[in-house]
């Protein structure tokens, strides 16, 4: 509503300027003929005043709207690299806001100050190399500093993931995300192949690779807090983009070209709930590359758990093979014995599958406590 009032006042201001403008033009209309050589009309001073008015009101509007919107910005980053980029963002914002106000102020004040006056003569001032040098070098230095700091941060963020990183595979498809974990036994993701995709094995897990046997999938994402997490990102059909706004993580998912992004989440879901004062808050993983009709709704819930909660959650998860024993048929003969373990382990507990299947769905970090 406040915005509407703001808008209306702007509209009325413009209307007021228009009316004064018109009347001035009419009153000066009589004198205009003697000045026919110079293309100036009675509105010249008003337009000049408009420049300053725009500067003043615009600056107030910019400052006010910023303060008004600030509570709705993303909260402090919930990842280690995010804290660094956030700080860099606000420092850069400070620099450009300074430049924004100074240059715009000069522009509008000069426009007002040097408006046309009869008998005034403009200064013939075609060049000043010293001035030009100054305003070439100063931006160049500022840019050099920004580039250097930005490059160092970028290099760190995109460096190779640490050895101990928890590997999680995210696969984008129209319109959702599949998440696969490397399992509780070998912590290695098995291969996948898009040609193996079917209605059940919708990631295309390759069961000729023994690393696949203990991999489990989920329709939500759990990540441990304070531990490096490496996202291995795929897309099945068209481009998608993994976006974790609160963790400042973004990386495209490209069909045929695996991508990756590693980061350390440093605020659990619980902590963020506490910080925001919202008991039902959940992190989301959204899509930021246009992918079709359902693009805007392509999201899954993300839980950042304390490491021990995460470990407990993982323990509860049953490998995909356990839940879908028919895929044992895809396992080559020499590995059948190894894969069989995952089937046999589940066989006696057949009655409990309902329970284990329910677990991931209800498995919020709070539920684990």
């Amino acid at each position: 509503m406040t915005y509407l009032i703001g808008l209306l006042s702007v509209v009325f201001l413009v209307l007021a300027i228009m009316i004064v403008n018109k009347s001035m033009a009419l009153s000066k209309g009589i004198q205009k003929d003697s000045e026919s050589e110079v293309p100036v009309d009675g509105a010249n001073n008003l337009n000049a005043v408009g420049m300053v008015l725009f500067l003043v009101l615009g600056s107030i509007g910019a400052a006010w709207s910023f303060l008004h919107s600030q509570p709705d910005f993303l909260p402090v980053a919930a990842s280690e690299h995010g804290l660094i980029t956030d700080r860099m963002f606000w420092i850069s914002m400070g620099i450009i806001t300074f430049a924004f106000f100074v240059t715009n102020a000069l522009l509008f004040i000069f426009a007002f100050r040097y408006r046309w006056k009869k008998n005034n003569v403009a200064v013939f001032y075609p060049v000043n190399h010293k001035l030009e040098l100054i305003w070439t070098v100063i931006p160049a230095i500022v840019m050099a500093v920004l580039v250097f700091t930005g490059w160092r941060t970028w290099r760190d963020i995109t460096s190779k993931a640490p050895e101990n990183a928890v590997v999680i595979e995210v696969t984008g498809h129209q319109f959702g995300w599949y998440v696969r974990y490397s399992g509780n036994d070998d912590s290695k993701l098995g291969n996948y192949n898009y040609k193996l995709i079917d209605d059940t094995n919708n990631i295309g897990i390759d069961y000729t690779d023994q690393n696949s046997f203990d991999d489990f999938t989920a329709n939500e994402m759990h990540i441990p807090k304070g531990v490096p997490v490496l996202l291995k990102i795929h897309a099945q059909d068209v481009l998608h983009s993994v976006y974790l706004p609160y963790q400042r993580v973004k990386m495209d998912a490209v069909p045929g070209m695996p991508t990756k992004f590693w980061f350390v989440a440093n605020k659990s879901t619980e902590e963020m709930r506490y910080e925001l004062g919202k008991a039902d808050f959940n992190y989301k993983l959204n899509c930021t590359e246009i992918c079709g009709r359902g693009h805007f709704g392509m999201a899954i819930t993300v839980f950042v758990d304390e490491p021990e909660d995460y470990a407990a959650w993982c323990k509860q998860q049953k490998p995909f093979l356990t839940q879908n024993p028919t895929y044992l048929a895809k396992v080559p003969e020499n590995l059948k014995a190894k894969a069989g373990k995952y089937i046999e382990a589940a066989a006696p507990a057949d009655s409990s599958t309902a329970e284990t299947e329910a677990a991931p769905v209800a498995g919020t970090s709070s539920a684990l406590r």
């Binding site: 059909d237 400042r248 045929g256 805007f296």
Partner: protein
Amino acid sequence: MATAELHAHDAHAHAHDEHEHHELGFIQKYVFSEDHKTIAKQYLITGIIWAFFGGGLSILFRLQLGFPDMNLEWLRPLLGGWIDESGKLDKEFYLALVTMHGTIMVFFVLTAGLSGTFSNYLIPLQIGARDMASGFINMLSFWFFALASVIMFSSLFIETGPASGGWVIYPPLSALPQAMPGSGLGMTLWLTSMAFFIVSQLMGGINYICTIINLRTRGMSFTKLPLTIWSFFFTAILGLLSFPVLLSAALLLIFDRSFGTSFYLSEIYIQGEALPNMGGSPILYQHLFWFLGHPEVYIVLLPALGITSEIIATNARKPIFGYRAMIGSMMGITLLAFIVWAHHMFITGMNPFLGSVFMFLTLIIAVPSAVKAFNYITTLWKGNIIFTPAMLFSIGLVSLFISGGLTGIILGNSALDINLHDTYFVVAHFHLVMGAASFFGLMAGVYHWFPKMFGKTMNRTMGYIHFWCTFVGVYCVFFPMHYIGIAGFPRRYYSFTALANDAQNSFTDLNMFISIAAILTFSSQLLFALNFFYSIFKGKRATQNPWNSNTLEWTAPIELGHGNWEGEIPAVYRWPYDYSKPGSASDFIPQNVPFSATPESNLPEENEEIAKEKEIEGLLETQNGVYNH
């Protein structure tokens, strides 16, 4: 007085008029015309029509974003099935609107409408040529554009809808008809239209370059060219080198779509089917696309900056500050424009090392851009500023260029781009710096050269109102949009329901505000249209040089015939920015006034130029020879 002498000179020149004035038929005069002035007007009017369409589409999706609960049933007579049963905009049509708005605005309005209009109109008139190097190719250029326009326009009316994959049409989304309906016939038409559009741009660009190099009047050396011409020159070079790359990207996409190749496709499983395509790379398309896509930003912006330089100098009654620095910075921007494309791709999975390189190159562009901004501001300093509508739009352009350009420093930083990429921050950034700024350049140019184009004047008061509504409106629309971006709202979202923390409930006021501001800004353009079309027919008759400007076009008659000047083309002796020269009685000395006629205001080095005037006059024979084939 120098000007008085000039007029006498013109009158004398009439005697030399040897041009046969055979009347052209209607079709040759107004439809398939080879006259650069008519072609320019054709571009302009087509561009204005497109601008209303492109703008209108944005109003439709702003309704969805600003008033997500509004019942749009009343639009059914216009949109038919694109309004779903619940009275909301269809989700795919929303994407189609976004896509077509981008395509139309970037290519059909700001490339063809801006550069097509003013390059065509001003190059021959400002360099002193009778027409373009090839009038026929120039005519073809417009008609290829018209053909592209018709095809693009027709794609709005097909059952499966127009292209909907974003104006960048990234494959595989754009390559696979099963991915979205817009990728069917709509995309085929989009690609066909763009292929013709590129052909049109290439023919135009070749003409601009040839004309500027070959047909300058005697005495018009490169260092005496108005900055408008320099900007059109660089724009044409950019277009000539980068549009073919877009054509190749489009051709490969056409092959992937229709002939089973796999340039961009690999390992795709869609709609329950694994496609056979292997080995292609969607990233390849992005590289090819942005190799045009980024220069395109400057193709759109540079002409606007050139137009602004001319208008600001004229109306501040001061020489443009740092003429050579302005050329140098435009040259720098032109060169850098070719080697920064991958800053659009920091998070596509491209090698991070490449990201570092492109970040470095990208931020260098800030330097020439800053030089330009400071030079504009210094040109205003101690001027005697006349606020014509054109001048207002030019000052507005500088403000928008600064405000939008500054956020580029943040987005060009790959580490910061991670969070901001594909959010509203980007949308706000490029709409200010490239959309609104270029649009302001277009408007400034129309107001400034309207008297030359149509021999009539536009109503100035309406021009002022148009400016203030547009200027305030544009800032109201795009300034607050940055906030939505900082809050992490992705672009091309139909609604924000899937964001964490119930984000769809924040910024509802702001989104509504933006939509209302957009509607008002758009509506105020009707004022311009009214003024424009009314003045063409009923405007007050213009004087020959209404803004007391120095450049050559104002020495041509008010009613411009074919060949532009009756009698000899004027020679050029000085640069175009001799405004308020100390010693001179008049506050402007046109380019065709020799230094020997202005001993009172000549600088010491200019007195030496007097000796060269004979030499320049001696070139008349050669120059006439060019036209006597």
